[in-house]
Symmetry: none
Subunit: 401 residues, 2 copies
């Protein structure tokens, strides 16, 4: 079922405001059987109040058993089927450093490597060159000039950098040039589908110039290209929901993901407190606000139960400031679970709270995994959440007569 075929047909416009407040990796696990999860342990009086007034449920980010990365996790929350819409590796890497891809761009993850006098690779990661040495080299590669194509080179971390090609007729179907072995030269770029030959030609020119620029480097004297990818063709929030949407995030990855679906990335907040200031400043300008809080995930990834509890309590503290602005629909959820007991993203359904005037509340008393299991939203695929939000905002017309 194509949700956006329905949404395009049914969406209405009105003055309502929808806030989606994402606690990254919000779901968790108890430390021992029968115990409480991080969210259940945390003192979250603001979310608990909304849980009593609103309706709870569990969202399944992709499909049962699947632990998603940040890309598919957020695409699901944004209502884009994460199986149908795939963000290629190069495009995700570019997005992750906050690079705003434009339609037709081709993005590539690149690795510095070391080659010997015969051109054979001796180290696929240039001796895991530290970032303070590799970043200036990536910037130096901006000297590459290719007629008719704009070339962007952005440092990432250690041996990694990103290349973005912008120009007419470029397509991203090009095989990796990393031979996944030493003692052999990097592979030549090869098109894997018709239509990508121009990209291959451009990448060959890039490689030729890059090797000249890097020739004197002791470690990073060459590079390999991986995950060549087009900007994913994601229809915008405006197009599929009729929503003018703003993203208020601290980390580049989430700004990037939001911009891929056409949200405006607003403000330069570095803290949750600053995010609330940005929200207030932009309240009158948008219909929909995606607010991203990172630390429920990073503390879970660190395997630190107590820290995740503490970060969840911090997440809760911003709720009154959001509610003071008078949203018509408020959602608190996560893009996936990150139980500190697993120290990783997991497949567990994600606790989800929806508050709205006509949401048909349930008997839940607080916001937590066990309560969510008994919630009125039931357990459902995250990709449907946006439709439920629109319905509660009075922004969906009737389907059929």
């Amino acid at each position: 079922m194509d949700i956006h075929k329905l949404s395009r047909q049914l969406f209405l416009k009105n003055d309502s405001k929808i806030v989606m407040y994402v606690g990254d990796g919000l779901g968790g696990l108890p430390q021992q059987p029968g115990g409480k999860t991080e969210l259940e342990t945390a003192n979250t009086p603001n979310l608990d109040k909304l849980a009593r007034e609103g309706v709870l449920g569990c969202t399944i980010p992709v499909s049962p058993g699947i632990a998603p990365g940040s890309g598919p996790g957020h695409l699901g929350l944004f209502g884009y089927d994460p199986i149908k819409y795939v963000i290629g590796r190069g495009a995700l890497e570019a997005t992750g450093i906050g690079f705003r891809l434009e339609p037709g761009d081709v993005a590539i993850r690149a690795n510095f490597c070391t080659i010997d006098a015969d051109g054979n690779i001796t180290d696929r990661r240039a001796g895991r060159i530290p970032t303070d040495e590799s970043a200036p080299l990536a910037i130096k590669l901006r000297e590459v000039k290719i007629p008719g194509v704009e070339v962007f080179v952005e440092p990432v971390k250690e041996h990694r950098f990103v290349i973005v090609l912008r120009g007419k007729g470029l397509e991203g179907n090009v095989a990796d040039t990393d031979p996944q072995a030493t003692g052999v030269p990097p592979l030549e770029p090869v098109a894997t589908a018709a239509g990508s030959q121009k990209t291959v030609d451009v990448l060959k020119q890039f490689m030729k110039q890059a090797r000249q620029i890097l020739a004197d480097q002791p470690k990073a004297n060459c590079c390999t290209l991986r995950g060549v990818a087009d900007k994913p063709a994601l229809p915008s929030y405006e197009e599929v929901y009729g929503l003018k949407a703003a993203a208020i995030a601290v980390y580049p990855m989430y700004k990037g993901l939001a911009s891929l679906v056409g949200m405006d990335v607003v403000g330069e907040a570095k803290t949750l407190e600053e995010q609330m200031v940005v929200l207030k400043e932009n309240w009158d300008k948008y219909d929909f606000f995606f607010i991203h809080y990172k630390y429920t995930d990073s503390s879970g990834e660190d395997g630190n139960f107590d820290l995740k509890v503490q970060k969840t309590e911090h997440y809760d503290t911003a709720v009154p400031q959001i509610m003071e602005l008078g949203p018509d629909v408020f959602i608190a959820t996560g893009d996936h679970s990150t139980p500190s007991m697993l120290a990783s993203h997991s497949w567990h359904p994600v606790p989800t709270l929806l508050w709205a005037k006509n949401c048909r509340t349930d008997a839940c008393e607080s916001f937590g995994e066990s309560q969510c299991l008994r919630g009125g939203l039931g357990t459902f695929a995250a990709k449907h959440l946006m439709m439920v939000a629109l319905a509660n905002a009075g922004r969906l017309g009737k389907y059929g007569a």
Copy 2:
């Protein structure tokens, strides 16, 4: 997933009887947070008794967040995916007035309009001509004769009427002829897909004769054609479930929807009491009975909470008469929710009750939205309900060995 691919493969025949008793728009909302819905407020001792003996759940008519019209709402209950099967506007309009479409029929919604001496539209709705003036004109249009094609013209309301074309080689892919503007003539019928040229030729002949017949009318001297549609290709209950099915409804729309899936429309009942008489008379002749009760919806649409409570109590009164006949499976549900607080169809899941000998009962004590949330059927897409009914009737074989 194609449910009917499974059902065709697995259905068995036996002597069991299934009753689906639909309270249109059954689901509701409380008048204040934490309050009771219409169904929870109503005194429904008969349904409550079955709730204790049976199993409850919530059905999602189309998909989360979607408020369906009567067409998709009932298709879902009948087990036909309401996204896959779309009833075109002309076909729904014909169905809504009780016209029984046959395979190959093309149905059209038509509007009387007023044109000036130059043939330009001066009023797209013929001055909103009252029904007592427009109905005789629609009947007069039955004088149109087109060789090889049977033409039916049926009055609807005010400026609206329905045309049905019956003949070989007709297809419904024809654009609207209403220009959506005045000062211009009606558009010529144009085929939007190969195969519909014959329909276009027939409609041109219809228009030519209609203008002659209406020439002297002061207001309704022309018409426009909209929503040209084939009879939807819905496989029958007999075909997909092996069920001989009867529909007992008061309103033409629901008789029409039932006939689209091959149910026999039986009786001429005008009241619930008369519907029960018809049910008893036909009990031995059918395997499946669809009984439609309208007033839980119309009272909700009127925004009248107390009246919906009262109509829900009325809906309950027929239950003992149904149960007396000894059905093997009894279902009470709605095609969607119509909360009187919203005075419209809504997206909220629909309270659903299934009673059968081996249904595996749950702990629910009464029939209402909150109880249904804790019910043994869970929250699920309405299109699966028929399969659960068949299973409970012993009418489905094992899938795979």
